[in-house]
Amino acid sequence: MVLWNLFQTFFIMGFVSFGGGYAMIPIIEAAVTKYGWMSTEQFTDMIAIAGMSPGPIAANSAILIGYTTAGLSGAIVSAVAILLPSLFLVITAASFFIKLHHNPVVERMFYGLKPIVTSLIIFAALKFALANNLITFQVSFRYISTVIIFGLSLFALLKLQWNPVYVIILSGLVGITLYS
């Protein structure tokens, strides 16, 4: 049953997986809440590990959630579920020589789809911040350090153009220094 739920969730997600992995967080989160697969804290950690690993964030998250809920078979089922739609869609597009990126209907669809993908990512950031109590106004050491870590991370990504993986690793070291 768990395996079927995993397969179903990630298979459907594979068909709407536009705009990169972070846009898929709300879909994964909806399924995690619905089936009670793990705590919010664990889910947050899973996304962090997915971001640290090579490979697509969405697939990595699927694999980790599959592993947490049903062991190695869960991981394999989730990976296959998220890959199958890509395989099917790419082969279809390639076999029929469909020039999707110059197709007027696809262009029109993407006109609305891209802003929605942006909303999904903003929503994911909001949900994450809320779930981990990052949006509060209690001035404490914890809160101030959080704001500084957030600001520095964003600075490193936007201005210094660091690879997100390095930001995660450095942030982990900062966390060990500050909070343990």
């Binding site: 690993s53 947490t68 020039k99 609305g112 909303s119 936007l158 153009q161 690879n163 993986v165």
Partner: protein, 207 residues
């Protein structure tokens, strides 16, 4: 089309080798694909490669997986596509599973907990960064801005998959009024050049 087993193996191995460098974004793979597939093995020309990247972004799914599958299909048919997909996914699968196992074994460690407290904050920053990157290509007039703003509160009440479909339908409806479509296509064309010449552009969001 008859495909030799050797070719299928070659396809598998080529993507298997490239895959572990996709740390931090599928587009990190682009220079390596050019080197291996276009320059060394001459399986694709540069123009074909540009097409592959464009198509891989349009089809749902990860850019790295889609482009590998598409290239595999070009070279070796369906068997080639499957070989490339497995090749590009396997190393990532093993690495993420190892990280997962490592995490579960030392989950209650105080230091790890402290590290993740800070990492969570950085993940929010990374997601905000991804939103900014996507917004740069997605938001270019009042209508797209409005769709983005309207989408966020909607997501608190409606399942994300339904919201995605609503977005696509809105796009089709809105573009049937006025000349927005021309504008949209123009912008897309400009961006294609951006993406192939500057793969870093989508770093952290195109994955």
């Amino acid at each position: 089309m008859k495909v030799k087993g050797l070719l299928v193996l070659q396809i598998f191995w080529t993507f298997f080798k490239i895959s572990p460098v996709t740390f931090g974004g599928g587009f990190a793979m682009v220079p390596l694909i050019i080197k291996e597939i276009v320059e060394k093995r001459k399986w694709l020309t540069n123009d074909e490669f540009t097409d592959v990247i464009a198509l891989s972004q349009t089809v749902p799914g990860a850019v790295a997986v889609n482009s590998a599958t598409f290239i595999g299909h070009r070279i070796g048919g369906i068997r080639g596509a499957v070989a490339a997909m497995i090749g590009v996914s396997l190393p990532a699968f093993f690495i993420v599973i190892s990280f997962g196992i490592f995490y579960f074994n030392i989950q209650d460690n105080q230091k790890l907990e402290a590290a993740f407290t800070s990492i969570t904050v950085s993940i929010v920053a990374i997601i905000v960064f991804a939103a900014i990157k996507v917004a740069k290509t997605a938001i270019y007039d009042k209508t797209t801005f409005f769709i983005m703003i309207a989408g966020v509160p909607l997501l608190f009440f409606i399942h994300p998959i339904i919201v995605i479909f609503l977005g696509a339908i809105t796009g089709i409806i809105v573009t049937s009024f006025g000349r927005k479509l021309n504008h949209c296509i123009e912008l897309n064309n400009n961006k294609e050049e951006d993406l192939t010449t500057n793969p870093d552009y989508f770093m952290g969001s195109g994955i």
